[in-house]
């Protein structure tokens, strides 16, 4: 640990110059509407598929959807020629915007010092200029939960749209305090604690959680009494952590409980019931959710499931269990959305959903699990998650199934603005595919190209079926 924290300090001045900005790149600006998307195949999610329709976007909203939606005069019109419009995908659990370079602590803003820091606001630290954000959104992901992690209560997560110049512009009106539920079992094959030690430490961790909760409940009680004029108006001593927890205790702010192992999930369900939080909690992670899916369904607790592309939790588990997990939970009746748990590669959310679809969830449910399902669980379904008149225009156009790697995104709209499909990775592609100069700095010399290299030419065609 010591080694890792030292080198970044040396790099700091360098990193500050470069990280999170891209001085040489002239990013084209996002355009404002009104827009009309015509000859569109529209996957509304909530109202089926419109095979040939029109979508009108004015300001930040979808103002018309349908087969014969009238196009307002002056609208910039895109003839989609049969391409499909999807609502923007929502990743229900990421560190996007909270970290720029994983190994550099100066760029990691998701974990504050302290075990109980619910007053640490993800929204404060989200970097709107993170290079990872444009890299993510070109794959159709338009909203993510950015969540703190580490410790018992690492902070307050926020839902953001992936376009905007300040955190406030990106904020999508959902926040939740996060609880990393204490590990009450063996943490991995390397965990060589005795059974007694495991149980003792689990009890201590749960006790710490309960103590914290009792304080928060007391604080909330005093605070409520004061607000109701029942006290002489004296404010309780400043306790920011408890102040952040008070609305959770009252059920006004949701509690995202990060929990993975089966035994921990069971305990978290019990804990929620004991603390009158069953209606207020949202579970996240759920690596072993399939093992206790019935219990979760009985408790009626919604789940943000993932990463899907992960190794099984136990050596004894079937190789495909992480892929199948969401499908098995859904089958048991759990309300769920899918999360990638990623930072710089949240762009792979469609593939997490695709693998879940393939291994039991089915394509339709998987698509819902990254659109309307998270919107409903997070309480923002009146704004995002489907293509409906009056909703925020977070949507994208694709030439095929967005879960397939052969599909390209053709247009992207976030909050009604048409966002350019460029980022540093596409710029590097443009610059370096046919690098100029090529070898040895010879002006005009073309290098390599497609001249029969070992992998064959780009034009190579082989009869293939899919």
């Amino acid at each position: 640990m010591r080694l890792r924290s030292f080198l970044p300090a040396l790099l700091l001045p360098f990193a500050l110059l470069l990280v999170g900005s891209d001085a040489h790149a002239q990013q084209p600006k996002a355009e404002r509407g009104p827009f009309a998307l015509t000859n569109a195949r529209i996957q509304t999610i909530t109202n089926g598929v419109i095979e040939d329709g029109t979508i009108v976007i004015e300001e930040d909203r979808i103002t018309a959807v349908g087969e014969n939606a009238p196009v307002p005069s002056g609208a910039q019109t895109f003839d989609l020629d049969g391409s499909t419009v999807y609502p923007g995908l929502i990743d229900a659990g990421t560190r996007l915007g909270l970290v720029e370079v994983g190994s550099l602590s100066e760029t990691r803003d998701y974990s504050e010092v302290g075990e109980v820091t619910p007053h640490m606001q993800a929204l404060t630290a989200i970097n709107p200029s993170s290079v990872s954000i444009p890299v993510t959104r070109v794959n159709g992901v338009t909203s993510v939960i950015a969540e703190p992690s580490g410790g018992l209560m690492p902070g307050t997560a926020a839902l953001i749209d992936l376009f905007g110049y300040t955190p406030a512009q990106m904020f999508r009106e959902f926040e939740a305090v996060t609880l990393d539920f204490p590990d009450t079992g063996r943490r991995g094959p390397w965990d060589d604690r005795s059974q007694q030690q495991i149980e003792k430490e689990a009890e201590e961790a749960i006790q710490k959680l309960n103590d914290t909760w009792a304080q928060a409940a007391l604080y909330a009680g005093i605070d409520s009494a004061r607000a109701a004029g029942a006290t002489d108006g004296q404010r309780p001593e400043y306790a920011p952590a408890l102040e952040a927890l008070a609305p959770v205790v009252r059920g006004d702010t949701p509690l995202i409980v990060k929990v993975d192992a089966a035994s921990d999930i069971t305990r978290a369900i019990e804990w929620a019931a004991e603390h009158d939080q069953t209606e207020n909690v949202i579970f996240s992670g759920l690596a072993e959710g399939w093992r206790v899916a019935d219990e979760i369904a009985d408790a009626g607790i919604p789940c943000l499931v993932g990463p899907v592309l992960a190794v099984p939790a136990r050596d004894a588990d079937r190789y495909s269990k992480p892929y199948a997990n969401a499908g098995l939970m859904r089958e048991a009746g759990v309300e769920l959305a899918i999360r990638s748990g990623e930072a710089e590669n949240v762009r792979n959310l469609p593939y997490h959903a695709g693998f879940a679809a393939t291994y039991g969830l089915g394509r339709e449910q998987a698509l819902r699990a990254v659109t309307i399902a998270p919107a409903r669980i997070l309480g923002v379904a009146d704004e995002i998650g489907s293509i409906e008149e009056g909703k925020v225009a977070n949507l994208f156009v694709a030439d095929g199934d967005p879960f397939k790697t052969s599909t390209d995104v053709e247009h992207l709209f976030i909050k009604g603005r048409r966002v350019p499909l460029v980022n540093r990775q596409t710029e590097l592609f443009e610059e370096y595919l046919d690098r100029e100069p090529g070898l040895e700095g010879q002006p005009g010399e073309q290098s390599g190209g497609n001249a029969g290299g070992p992998t064959g030419s780009a034009e190579e065609t082989t009869p293939e079926t899919d």
């Binding site: 495991i198 921990d264 082989t462």
Partner: protein, 476 residues
Amino acid sequence: MRFLTSLALLLLVLAPAERVAAQEDGPSQGIVDLYEAREERDDWLIQDATVLTVTNGTIEDGDVLVQDGNIAAVGEDVDAPGDVEVYDASGEYVMPGVVDAHVHIGISNVNEATNPVTAEVDVGDVLDPFDVALYRALAGGVTTSHVMHGSANPIGGQNETIKHRYGVTDPGELRFEGAPGTIKFALGENPTRVHGTGQDIQPSTRMGVEHVIRRALNRAERYAAQKEAFQNGERAAPPEYSERLEALADVLSGDLQVHCHSYRADEIVMLMDVLDDFGVDDVTFQHVNEGFKVAPELAEYGAGASVFADWWAYKFEVYYSTAFNAAILARNGVLTSINSDSGELDRHLYHEAAKTQKYGDLSKNQALKLITINPAKQLGIADRVGSIEEGKDADLAIFSKHPLNIYTVPQRTYVDGVKRFDHADDPSDVRLFVDPEAPVPATRAGHTAGHAGTEEHRCMHGAFRMGAFARKALQQ
């Protein structure tokens, strides 16, 4: 070894309730027995599949005949002996077994991080046939892996090319017989962090990395010359024997091929310059995230590049990466593969390769080459594996749909004609060895996705623990 086998069998017999619980959809047969039975059969006719040969196009409605573990015939309506077991693969796709050019599974140690040069150590000495990760990769169509030493040292240890013969309990049976020897080199942040920052010795910069490698190769050159002089009678005694210099001399002679962990364009060019000075031609750069910046130089040198599909930003030296790397390299004529470096990614390399359709518009066949014939060429085993051709080893992966399609499900994987993975028939719990010391089931819960969570546990596995040990030793 026989003892371990018996122990594994015994433990399977005495398996605890946990095993029964995990068995809901599998037979309750001992896994070692199951595989011993399967090994009896290495003759098959895989019938009516779409055969993706990779090197000779696609055969719609084709057959692959396997005899004695080799591909005996490929084509439409292949004639087969009457008694051969037939697998009806109609509607399914068969491709060559996936070759992973970089992974750290199936070994019990990764980094010998006690010195910047450790050419004498060999991960082939610590093969672990009980690692379930070997099976999980099979379940994603992988049949061959290049199991590598870690990246803590500018010159690390020797690697081992293995076949995923999951089910064997003798470590030696995992080896890919006859595969050329390879050795790990590593540039950039990992070696400078472990040795420079961690132990205050060279290298702490990329300049130092170059020097450490040059110094080591120089010594090897002198060592080899002294040996030769002794053999020619020009010297009274041979040089003092050094296992390390023996290995490095093999690098100079080409008997050990260099596979170099690298990221930045400058360090990639540096190593090509160094190797050129020592007359070493055969090099494959691993990870090589900025390879796209020097693709013409890589192509001219004839160097290989083995890359991630899209991993980036987990450390500073991969911040200026692009998911278009593989496509830029391939389209510039560089022999390119996609590897996993991860016991998670290696389960879906077919999906990783598929991403080049999105990032750079590679054709399906080009994408498949990145995980089959190209890595096979990089490992010097293309005469045996990497394509479906008559005479090659019967290492085959069968998929329900085209392997690049997100909705595909791997169905069967054969290694040397032996069925080592069967989606329909394998039990859930395939452990060959059940740890009797584990009183409660261990879970890897709370895992993180992506490279941030894996590299420290794979490529750099053991680097810092050993580093601390070495520091202490130096102080004494």
